[in-house]
Subunit: 187 residues, 2 copies
């Protein structure tokens, strides 16, 4: 049996998305967002949910560009800080010592120390109430040179919104597009 728990905005798991923008004056900012993900495979696009009062919202509206930087375990505290403080009140790159690298593809910076980044241009906005959903066309993606295989050894973390933990990926329970084959032709 199941019980109702109202209308929580909880899903599992969440990526740890650090979104970087330039503000109107050209200062780089980084903000960690709870929600976002791939929105389409072609043209490749992401969605990110941003509250209008946030400093990043202003920058997105002005610059129409952003990067998505996935946080590795090594920089979990920095990623957490990026979500705790507004870019209005602090220069978060100066505080953390991380490097804002100017993208040569879009009008936004990315975090030099983060191993996987997406460079995006805003194509749509959808006002949903507390959050506005921004759709960004992925113009390019970059990965650390050292990564011999896609994401191997990048130590990307997840956000468990129920326990409020940043987590490493756990053990595999099976291969996607494979373990379900046993049901094919069953009926």
């Amino acid at each position: 049996m199941k019980k109702s728990i109202g209308t929580p905005s909880l899903i599992f798991p969440n990526p740890v998305l650090v979104v970087c923008t330039y503000d109107e004056g050209g200062r780089a900012n980084a903000a960690t967002l709870a929600w976002g993900g791939i929105a389409s495979s072609g043209p490749a696009a992401v969605s990110i949910a941003v509250q209008p009062p946030r400093y990043t919202y202003e920058a997105l509206m002005k610059r129409k560009a952003f990067t998505v930087n996935l946080a590795p375990a090594k920089y979990a505290a920095e990623a957490d800080y990026f979500g705790l403080v507004s870019g209005r009140d602090a220069d978060k790159f100066a505080v953390t010592g991380l490097t804002a690298v100017k993208s040569d593809i879009v009008d936004a910076p990315y975090i030099g120390e983060f191993p996987y980044i997406l460079e995006c241009e805003v194509t749509h906005t959808l006002d949903l109430g507390v959050h506005t959903l921004f759709i960004g066309a992925i113009k390019d993606a970059k990965i650390d040179d050292g990564a011999t295989e896609m994401w191997k050894g990048l130590d990307l973390i997840t956000f468990d919104a129920a326990s409020r933990d940043y987590r490493l990926p756990g053990a595999s329970v099976g291969k996607a597009f494979e373990i379900g084959n046993k049901f094919k032709n069953k009926l």
Copy 2:
């Protein structure tokens, strides 16, 4: 240094979202989608990315309702199967033996055996090319009675799109909204 890898529709991690709908004739269907997540906290809303040729797309357009069912490790193979086969070609509930429970809140079924579900009504659609993004208002969420604490013991799995594994959550590397405090008042 970073190298460009083009425009992949890859992010880490992904939830394992099984979306259930009734088709025009009232038959329950379940489809596993690669992408979706929370879109706003108030009113609580989710986004799901669906390709127009999919059977679920037709059902969403007709019924304007769906449920999101998060897959537990125990049913990883069933969840995988739901993404491998079209509802046009198979009665997936009959094949897997899982139970389609009629929601009393929205015009869609949910999976009785899955521990956490969201009942949603379609409020927006956004055509992005290969995928259409559906926004669903979360009208209610249900969790297994046995869950004493939010999600504890539900064994929900994640989808690692790089290695193509379903994974359990791994070890915590720190508490969200806490480990970043050390940077406050630093500059």
